[in-house]
């Protein structure tokens, strides 16, 4: 019998390369005659370039050429170009210079004379909403494709309330209501009102978005740092307006993205365009300092929340207003945040209002758990506060409000394929020993106080309808072609496992094909939003099912008997007529041609799959199919996080003592990697809530914290030496494999468990701000709160 592949710890096939230095990330590629580009970054948050004199720079020895904004694609409205003469944030690339080496290019940048006209800017969205306040764009602060720019402001009445610390009643571009919040609040035994500020913060993946490109005739070879592979090729082709089939996109390894490199990066256009102009390979090495600016950030929230509870602790009404700090090019987190609040607390009566405001800060993008992580990390301590005030056990208040299988959420009453949040909470309670921990909550040891808290966090975890493509070659091996990316989640290999298991393969006989678009990929998802595990276990399962049918038919044709009487195991197919190796089957499939060797393709595969399949046609037995398994409802995963901290009241330092994360993400494919996702996401959430801080100078609109040491992600010493994780492990019933993604939800769980535990250590006081750095906590403890008002980017 072939080995079990689903549920086993199998190191991904690229690990050997990763630990020997052979793995090539974008900046590790070289090409003959390669030159280096450097960027001139805007020194102002909003400006217009009046004049550029590059003559001194271009005259320098070793300098090759300059690339200006008028040579790159651009579109009207709040849309990003890779170079611009109207920078909308400090650090936006204005122009690039290429030289024989990086130092010469940097010296040339210094030698460029450039004259800017400074323009009004805004870094705090509330200032842009204030009557008469500044806008991030010259033409306004709201944009629609139909009507263009407009000027959106709240009223003086709204701001009288805001300034008095009360919840305003403003009009917002996005608004929905379900149930009857007003009547529900009247019935509530307890109504809590809070103002919340969640910070905006940079993604800072370990690998900055360096990339290299060159042309051979009409073919662009692009070496890109990207989360996705196949979809990045199409994104780059779209940006450059060239035929995707003329791009050879190499993306073998990606040093992390967390949402900041979903379909590649904006700066990946620069080497492509520059190398075409100067006809030499161009390397653009992005430094950590530059990554701070061009590297994307999570949108910040300024929020008013009203939450009503019945006597038993059940949340019965929510009124939520979110002002989102969206940078110059927008983001969608706030919409998701509204949905997730409704899903997690099941109030039945909810009003949501939201407005996305352009600001002159570095561009925003989805950051792991976008919207969900922000709202969960802020609302969970408030839920626990309600438990305290109503005398309801804090675990019970999470449990009673968590959704069950029949949940309907959001304005259109969305449903879920499955939900086992309650089971995740129950399992976590046991693993963490919540009841014993609760007994030491508030216990003092010198100046240190113990706090415990829970964070329950959902997020979308899958999509449907992609294509799978695999081929069994005459060597008998199964080659699974994966157009998803390789950013460290191991899904590049793990999503092939259920398919390989279906075909009775041992893992050593499975080859994962990835990393270079010339190798042919089926239509794939972007590697984002935790879609991949679901989308591509399904797509590969469909393709393997197709391959299995073809193997049986080829065997029956060769050996006699009915196709259905043949079965596969360990590289052989056996039945009434005898047995054959799959290598022999592949040879026969090639001879039979037609659908067996991929010369004839299913009608319903995507147009992006067809040219890839044509590359492989005739080389073996092809399994190819669209995921037609269907399904109703949204696919969501959950993580319940439990944290115990010690808060030192003399220093404001918080030490995480214990953490348990339990997930509901369906079938577990790769336990060790799943644990790593639960911990990694949770710890990233803790960094968001506690250690990273992105502070701006309000006078000049520039960030102070532009490196790791000033916006510090958690290090080894920020987490305990032992963490625990668990999985509910109940397969999703609407899925042939039953697996749901896991990338996103742990971020909110880790952050919220921490913010809840800190609130507990402070006697139940919710600060309702992130990040909770020691100075902030110390000020709170000493009764001089630092975060009095609703300012964004000031800490």
């Amino acid at each position: 019998m072939a080995e079990r592949l689903v549920g086993a710890d199998i190191a991904p096939p690229d690990l050997h390369a990763k630990i020997t230095g052979r793995a090539r990330y974008a900046e590790d590629f070289r090409a003959p005659g390669m030159v280096f580009a450097k960027l001139l970054l805007s020194p102002m948050p909003h400006a217009r370039v009046r004049r550029v004199d590059a003559s001194r720079a271009l005259a320098m020895e070793g300098v090759i050429d300059i690339l200006r904004a008028d040579e790159v694609p651009s579109r009207d409205g709040p849309r990003e170009a890779c170079l611009t003469d109207t920078p909308r944030y400090e650090g936006e690339p204005i122009l690039a210079v290429a030289a024989v080496d990086e130092e010469t290019a940097a010296a040339a940048i210094e030698a460029i004379e450039i004259d800017f006209e400074p323009l009004p800017f805004v870094i705090d969205p509330l200032e842009s909403l204030r009557p008469g306040g500044p806008n991030a764009y010259v033409d306004g602060n709201q944009f629609s494709g139909q009507d263009g720019w407009s000027d959106f402001k709240w009223t003086n009445t709204d701001f009288a309330k805001v300034d008095a610390g009360e919840m305003p009643d403003p009009s917002c571009p996005v608004e929905w209501t379900k149930g009857d919040p007003e009547s529900a609040f009247a019935e509530s035994a307890l109504v809590l009102e809070e103002t919340i500020v969640h910070q905006s913060l940079t993604h800072h993946p370990m690998e900055p978005r360096s990339n290299m490109a060159y042309w051979e005739g009409e073919t662009l070879h692009a070496f890109v740092s990207t989360q996705s592979s196949q979809q990045t090729k199409f994104a780059l082709a779209g940006a450059l307006q060239i035929d995707p089939e003329n791009i050879n996109l190499v993306s073998e390894y990606c040093g992390g993205g967390f949402g900041s490199k979903i379909a590649g990066t904006t700066v990946m256009q620069i080497p492509a365009l520059f190398s075409r102009k100067i006809n030499r390979p161009v390397m653009l090495r992005i430094t950590r300092y530059e990554e701070n600016y061009v590297g994307r950030a999570r949108p910040g929230f300024q929020t008013w929340l009203k939450m009503g509870f019945l006597q038993d602790g059940k949340c019965n009404a929510i009124d939520l207003i979110i002002v989102q700090e969206s940078g110059p090019y927008g983001a969608g987190d706030f919409n998701t945040a509204g949905m997730i609040a409704d899903l997690t607390y099941t109030p039945q009566n909810m009003r949501f209002r939201g407005v996305s405001m352009y600001t002159n800060t570095p561009p925003k993008a989805a950051q792991r758990g976008p919207g969900g992580a922000q709202i969960i990390s802020m609302m969970e301590p408030i839920l626990e506060k309600a438990g305290r005030e109503l005398g309801v056990d804090r675990f019970e208040i999470h449990r009673m409000n968590a959704p069950r299988g029949d949940v309907q959420f959001g304005p259109r009453n969305a449903t879920l394929t499955s939900v086992h949040a309650v089971e995740a909470l129950d399992q976590g309670r046991e693993m963490f020993d919540w009841d014993a921990k609760l007994a030491i909550s508030g216990k003092r040891n010198g100046s240190k106080v113990t706090g415990v808290g829970i964070g329950l966090s959902p997020y979308t975890a899958g999509s449907r309808g992609r294509d799978g493509m695999m081929i069994i070659r005459p060597d008998g091996k199964l080659y699974v072609h994966q157009g998803i990316g390789n950013l460290g989640t191991h899904s590049i290999a793990d999503t092939a496992r259920p398919a390989a298991e279906l075909l009775g393969y041992n893992w050593k006989d499975v080859e994962i094909v990835w990393g270079n678009s010339a190798r042919a990929y089926p239509r794939s998802t972007v590697q984002a939003g935790s879609q991949t595990t679901t989308a591509h276990t399904r797509a590969n399962h469909a393709a393997a099912t197709d391959a299995l049918r073809k193997i049986r038919e080829v065997a029956a044709a060769a050996l006699g008997g009915s196709a259905s009487s043949y079965s596969v195991d360990s590289g052989r197919v056996s039945g009434p007529g005898g047995t054959m190796t799959l290598g022999r089957i592949a040879e026969r499939a090639i001879a039979m041609g037609g659908e067996y060797s991929g010369e004839v393709l299913p009608d319903d595969v995507h147009a992006q799959t067809v040219p890839a399949a044509q590359i492989l046609a005739g080389e073996g037995l092809m399994g190819i199919a669209r995921d037609n398994y269907g399904g109703e409802g949204n696919i969501y995963s959950w993580v319940a996080g439990f944290a115990m901290v010690e808060l030192d009241e003399e220093t404001g330092m918080v030490e995480l003592k214990e953490y348990v994360g339990v997930t509901d993400c369906g079938t577990v494919i790769h336990p060790r990697s799943l644990g790593a996702q639960v911990f990694g996401g949770s710890i990233q959430g803790m960094g968001m809530a506690m250690t990273q801080r992105w502070v701006f100078d309000p006078q000049w609109g520039v960030p102070f914290a532009n490196r790791f040491y000033t916006a510090r992600p958690p290090g080894f010493l920020d987490i305990p030496a032992d963490l625990k994780w668990g999985a509910v492990g109940i397969p999703d019933p609407q899925d042939p494999v039953g697996a749901k993604g896991i990338g996103e939800p742990p971020v909110g769980a880790g952050a919220a468990a921490l913010t809840s535990a800190i609130a507990d250590a402070m006697g139940g006081r919710c600060v309702c701000r992130t990040p909770l750095t020691p100075d902030v906590l110390l000020a709170e403890i000493e009764g001089r709160p630092m975060y009095g008002r609703l300012e964004q980017h000031v800490g």
Binding site: P205, R707, P713, D722
Partner: protein
Amino acid sequence: MDQAESVSVLEKKYSRRTFIKGVIATGATASSAGYLFRGSPLLGAATYQTATERLITLNVNGQERRVDVLPHETLAMTLRYKLGLTGTKLGCDRAECGACTVLIDGVSQYGCSMLTHQVRGRSVATIEGLEDADTGELSVVQKAVMEEGGFQCAFCAPGFIMAMTEMIEVNPNPTREEARLALSGNLCRCADYDKILTCAMRAAELARSV
């Protein structure tokens, strides 16, 4: 002051202060220029000559390598862009993340924050040098990482593996707590710390059994 002399008298032990002093001593500005890459003919790119450029011999992974190095050039840049050793990663350029960690005479150092001239006459070990050159057999640390399935995106992996390689020499029998301290000079943005620690413990175990 003769520039070759000025770099040769620099303290052997890395420090940020030493690094900046070194950059200043070479006449370069102490701005970001020290973190950038100056080309050489070895890369195939034309470069212009300066009076300070010089050919030196480095001992890297047990081999003598002749290389054209500027006085203010960092070791990480020399390794990556002149010696083709791209396993050493640049995560921050400035001693904040440890992705560029290499061993100098067996001691872990940030390659981005050492001048190449500082390592003349000393032995430099990078991730590419850990395998047995003849058999391709992995080092005990690499074996441990394979067994435990360490790392996610793995951009930090070469640096961590070099730090682990030093750790098992210095402290062959660490507790998880001690291993955590030994590796705290390296950052993993995927926050795969739990698994990295398990790898480090397994590496120490394997080393003890050799």
